[in-house]
Point group: C3
Chain length 309, copies 3
C-alpha cells in the first residue's frame, strides 16, 4: 500500500517531500498512459462525491474528469443552497452522511478550516478543493507538476509569484509547496498586497531564498517562471492606485520579450486582463496546459488516497 | 419476473407485506454482496433520472449512489428553477418527455400527490422520493430495514416515534409501514403535534397496538427503538412552550442511560439538536448506518422495478 | 474516418445535404441497434461536457442520455451563475479550459453567435445546443429525423410551420434544414409573428416552395405535417388580439379531424396549450416520439464528430 492510502489531502504543510514526489510521479505515469488509452481502470466501482459549498466549476469539473478517466463514478453537490444539507446541519453530520454513499470526498468551502473539520468527522478520505482564503493544496500540486514538466525540474528554478499575494490563496499554497524544493522565489506585488507573514515566516524557517518587491522588472530579468494572479480593483484605496499597478502587472508581448528566453508563464485561471490574449500563442504560455495537468494530479490523488496503487 | 417489476413505488399503503419483504430481502442480499465487491452489475446500460422539483441533496445522492453501485447511469435535475421544464409545463408532459431519455424516474416534489400524477403519465417506473407532506415510502422502507438489521427482527419490537408527528412525513410513512408487522408503537409528541387521524385510523383498522403520549419517560422505559424527529420552533404558539418540549425531547447520554439496555436510536436526518453529539459514540446510535441502509434499499427498489431480478 | 469527424455542429447552413443524410442514417442505425441492446459501446472512455450558460433541462438531459447510451461519461455545468466560469471570464478562456477536461462540448448560450466563438477557440468539437434566438441545429436534425420516420420520407411532404415564426428559433433552423429537401412549406402565423426575411430569403434562393398565411385552415387542408410552436402572450399589442390567434391556432380533436388523414403533429416541447391533451392519443401525435428521436440524433452527432464511426 502506498503511504497516502487512506489519508486526507488538506494542506500542503501536512505533506512530506516524499508524499509530494509520489503524487508528481504518479501523475506523470498517468499522463503517459493516457497517450495510448482513454481511461485507466483503477477506480472502477468507486464513487467520488464532489461536495461544493460554494461553486467552482473549474475545480469541480477537473476532479470529476479525473474520476471518470480512472473509470470511477461521481455524485455531486455543485452548490449548496436551500437543500437539506444546508438547513442548519453541521459539516460533521453532512460528511458522516455522505460517507455512507461515497468512497472519497472532494470538498470546497468558503470558510478556512472547513476541510479539516470534515476530515476529522469522516472515515473516508477528504481532499480539500479549497477552503476560504486558506488552503488549496491540489492547485499547488498541479502547479508544481506544471513547473516540473515545463522546466524539466523544480529544483534550481527562479519563480516569480506576481499579483495579489495577500489574498491569493493559490500563491500561499504554492509558496508552501515550493519550500520543499531548492528554488528562489521572487514575490512581486504592490506593497498593499504583499505575502502574509505566516507564509514568509515558513519560508524563512525552511531556508528558502526569497525576495519581496513591487518592481516587476526584477522578475522580468531573473525569473524562469512567472506565476501570475489576478489583482482585484476593490483591494486598493483609490482607482488611481489600482490603475497604476494594473498597468505595470499586465503581461503582454513586450514584457515577454524583455523576459528570460523561454520563460514559463502560469496562471491559476480564470484570468481577467492580467495576461494579454496575444501572449497565448507564445510557446511558454502554460496556463491551459496547467489546467490539463490538474486532471493528472487529481487522478493521482484519488488513486493514491483510495489505495488503488 | 419479480412482482414489483414494472411497478411504481409511490406510497406505503400500495405495497403488500410480501412486496415489503421482497424489498428488505433484496436489500439484505445486496448489502452482503457488497462486502466482497464494489458494484453489482445488474443495471449496466440502464439510466435513472433523478427529477427533483425541490432540492434534497441527501435523498438524491442516495438514489444516485444506489444506481452507480448497480453499474447504472444517472441523469439529473437537482432543482427545477427557471429551466424549460418549469415554464408552465404540466408534470405529465415533463414526465412523458423524460421517459424518452431514461428507464426509471426517482422524483421529489413539494406537492402531495405529484408522484401519483407523474406515475399515471409515465410508462416507465416512478419511485417517489417524497411528495409534499404526504408520502416518503423509500424512507419508510429503509427505516424498516434498519430496525430489522439493528434488532434482528421487526415483529415484537416496541417502537417510539418521537417529535413532530403532525408534520413529519417520515413518521407517517413509517407508521403505515409498521402496520404490516406485529409491533407496538408509542407516539411521543407535544399535544399540538400529535399524529394525524388518518394515520391513527389506519393503524386501528390494521389492529396495531399504539399509544399516544407527551411523556418521553414512557418511551424511555418501554421502547426498543427510539425514532426521533425534529421539532420546529415555528410550530409553537410561544417560545416558552417550544423551549419546554425542546428540552424534554432532547436525547442526551443521561436519557440513553435511563433507557432499555441496547435501545436503538434512529433519526431520518438532518438533525439539528434533537440528539446530542455525545450520543453518536453510543453503540445503539444507528442514524448514520440508517443513511447507508438507504443505499441498499434504493438499490433493491431500482433493481426490482426494472425487472433485473 | 467520416466527414463530420473533428468538426463542430453550429448551424444548419454549415451542413451539406450529405452531412445531414449521414446524421440521419447513423441515428436510424443506432435506433435499430437499441432495439436489442441497452447501449452501444462506441464512446467508452470519452467525456462530454454539457456547458449550459442558460438552463435547458430537456436539451441537456437528451445530450447526456445520448452520451450514456454510447457508454461515454458526462461532466456538466447545468447553469452558470456565480461560479468562477462566470466571473468576467471570456467564452474563449472557459472553452479552452474545459477542453482540458473533456473530449466534446455541448453548449447552450443565451446570446446568438456564442457557439461560434466557442468553436473558434476550442480544439475539440463543439455542438451547439441553442444560442440565443439564432441557431438550434440539433433540434432541426431531430425534427428531420422525425419527419422521415413518421412519413417514410422527407421529400414530397407538405409541412406547415405553425405559431410564432418570428421569434421561434426552432422553426428557423428547421426551415433552413428543409431547404435541403424537395418539400413544400406552409408558414402559418399571425402577421405580427411571420418568418423573418433572412429565412424566407434563404428558402427562395434554395428554390424551396413556400407560402405565408395567417389562415390555419389552409394548413388543415394541405399539410402532411403540422409543426406547432408556442405563441407568447407578450408578443401581442392587446390581450384581445392574443386571444383571437390563440383560439385559432389551438390544435384540438375537431381540427385534427378536418386535417388530411394520417397527418403528423409535431411540437418541439414544452407545450403550454397549443395542443390539447386530448390530441395525445391520436396516432399521428408525434411530439413525445420526437423527443426520443433527439437521443438517437444526438448519439449520431456525438459518435460522428468524435470520429468513432
Amino acid at each position: 500500500m502506498n503511504p497516502l492510502a487512506g489519508r486526507d489531502v488538506l494542506a500542503i504543510p501536512e505533506l512530506s517531500r516524499s508524499d509530494i514526489d509520489l503524487v508528481l510521479a504518479t501523475a506523470a505515469s498517468f499522463e503517459q498512459q493516457l497517450q495510448g488509452q482513454r481511461t485507466i481502470p483503477l477506480l472502477d466501482g468507486y464513487i467520488l462525491c464532489t461536495l461544493f459549498y460554494e461553486p467552482s466549476t473549474r475545480t469541480r469539473l477537473s476532479f470529476e474528469a479525473a474520476m471518470h478517466r480512472l473509470q470511477g463514478r461521481v455524485i455531486s453537490v455543485a452548490e449548496i443552497t436551500s437543500s437539506s444539507v444546508a438547513k442548519g446541519e453541521s459539516i460533521d453530520d453532512t460528511v458522516r452522511t455522505i460517507e455512507q454513499y461515497a468512497d472519497v470526498i472532494a470538498m470546497r468551502h468558503n470558510e478556512a478550516g472547513a476541510a479539516h473539520i470534515a476530515a476529522e468527522a469522516a472515515s473516508i478520505p477528504v481532499i480539500n478543493g479549497g477552503d476560504g482564503s486558506r488552503n488549496h493544496p491540489t492547485q499547488a500540486l498541479l502547479d508544481l507538476y506544471t513547473i516540473q514538466k515545463e522546466r524539466g525540474a523544480i529544483d534550481g528554478q527562479v519563480i516569480a509569484l506576481v499579483g495579489d499575494l495577500k489574498y491569493g490563496r493559490t500563491t500561499h499554497s504554492l509558496a508552501e509547496a515550493l519550500a520543499r524544493f531548492r528554488v528562489e522565489i521572487l514575490m512581486v506585488s504592490p506593497p498593499e498586497l504583499s505575502m502574509p507573514d505566516h507564509v514568509t515566516g515558513a519560508l524563512r524557517q525552511a531556508g528558502v531564498a526569497f525576495e519581496q518587491t513591487a518592481d516587476i522588472e526584477e522578475a522580468v530579468r531573473r525569473a524562469d517562471v512567472m506565476y501570475v494572479t489576478r489583482i482585484q480593483r476593490e483591494r486598493f484605496p483609490t482607482p488611481a492606485e489600482y490603475d497604476r499597478f494594473r498597468g505595470v502587472f499586465h503581461i503582454d508581448p513586450p514584457l515577454v520579450e524583455r523576459s528570460k528566453p523561454g520563460v514559463t508563464i502560469m496562471h491559476p485561471l480564470p484570468r481577467v486582463d492580467e495576461i494579454s490574449h496575444e501572449v497565448d500563442s507564445y510557446a511558454g504560455a502554460a496556463y491551459f496546459r496547467q489546467a490539463r495537468n490538474g486532471v493528472y494530479v487529481r487522478m493521482a490523488l484519488l488513486a493514491l488516497v483510495l489505495g488503488a496503487i
